[in-house]
Symmetry: D2
Subunit: 149 residues, 4 copies
């Protein structure tokens, strides 16, 4: 008798936060300069971290840093000065020693203006890349239900 | 007699420029904040433009803007305050109405610290996306030998 | 009978808003880079404008820009990543064709970390400096009670 | 017979460097956002330091940081994208435990666009403000002829 194999879908958790476009973030064309979206992703990721209880400072307390090793952005529509945009930040679980986040930024009309992804790794205080998921991060995964307790 | 058809490899032209890492560009970990590499790519692209005679201002004079619709970065090593890095910016020719640039950033030791790519489109003054390559850009392609005169 | 002359004190209106210190705003010493306080002043000024009904966009609609011609800052204490600071922005009324704002930034403990001032002038669309206070701004002064209606 | 006392004029040394205005540094009005001049001052100060042999890294090696405690700017003319401006940075000697720098920024036509000043103090590694001029800085003063050897 054949047992059906099903790949479990990768689990995700999200958080949606707001950003207000600053004057200084817009360029002579009157729209947000593309490089600022990387900052908006970070704003979203930090709001996610505050909500779901994992932050840069937790990482630091555990003697890890989590540098970004990859990022990509796709720009579909512009944002303008004064716009209040929403950033949906999604953590995409992975069995690897990585943190993967996806981002969707919406304008006040609810249209997608930008999507993107970042990949972070775990680096020990001495500068060594961690090949396994650090304990503090496994604990967090359990706490938020990404893995069984 | 059969004439052999060969797909011509996509032509490329490059330019290498220098950047000096500013204090403000580094973060509490003492390394360049990842979002600043998007700025370094722009620095490289503008140095390329000055050298090869195509610039934001040419585009503007021709009533086009060239917004970035896609970008990606890969981070391999950090840069630190005071480092003089080199940015190799390569224009990758395409038959589409697009500008594709690739970037390689090297540290003072000549190691690759970051690679990336940006894709730009041509937008007319009124906001309309151009589906064909604008005249001023075809002229530039001819001038630099990317297409036959 | 002599009527006592008293110089009326210059009238002021204030607004207090919050900022959260971003990772990117801190430097290798782990504290906010001094130049970012100019941005925090602008954040405070814009929050003031939203609250009291005067904004960059009102100015633009009235064909004026209001460039900053002077600014100063005094730094007393550092701010760190994640700090939620409050910015008290005070408009100091003046009979001249100027906008003067004063700023006080407080850390989470309520201590003053930075004070400063900016002076803006009114410039007409054509680039001409306005020597008199524009109508739209007089209206605003009346609306908020800085001058009698 | 009385000997006339004359206060010696404060000694100064200068250095002039160049900056190229980046696209990202300009705002929707097409001119450099005022807060970026603080960065241009820092660019000038660092170029001064490289030329005259005193830098942030020397300070760090000597276990001092030199935070800016005061700054002011006056804006007279705008700078635009692509402008190559020159920054004249002048160290104004003082008997106090301070570093005072003055700045003049000129546009390509040689007109003054911005002037300013920054004041820095010496802070020891532990966070203590130094009330006397640190040895490494006295050595530097002697080396560049600000005080007699």
């Amino acid at each position: 008798m054949k047992k059906k194999l099903r790949s479990k879908p990768s689990k995700e958790i999200s958080y949606t936060s707001e950003i207000r476009v600053r004057f200084v973030e817009t360029d002579p064309l009157g729209i947000v300069w593309h490089g600022n979206y990387i900052q908006y992703f970070e704003d979203g990721r930090e709001a996610f971290g505050r909500h779901h209880g994992i932050s840069y400072l937790d990482q630091k307390d555990n003697n890890f840093s989590t540098p970004i090793v990859k990022s990509n952005t796709e720009h579909k529509l512009p944002l303008r000065y004064g716009d209040i945009a929403t950033v949906k930040t999604t953590y995409v679980d992975s069995p690897a020693a990585k943190m993967i986040f996806k981002y969707k930024i919406f304008n006040p009309e609810g249209e997608i203006v930008c999507t993107g992804e970042t990949v972070q790794v775990f680096v020990e205080l001495g500068g060594e890349l961690s090949l396994t998921i650090p304990d503090f991060f496994m604990k967090w995964k359990r706490k938020v239900g990404l893995i069984d307790a």
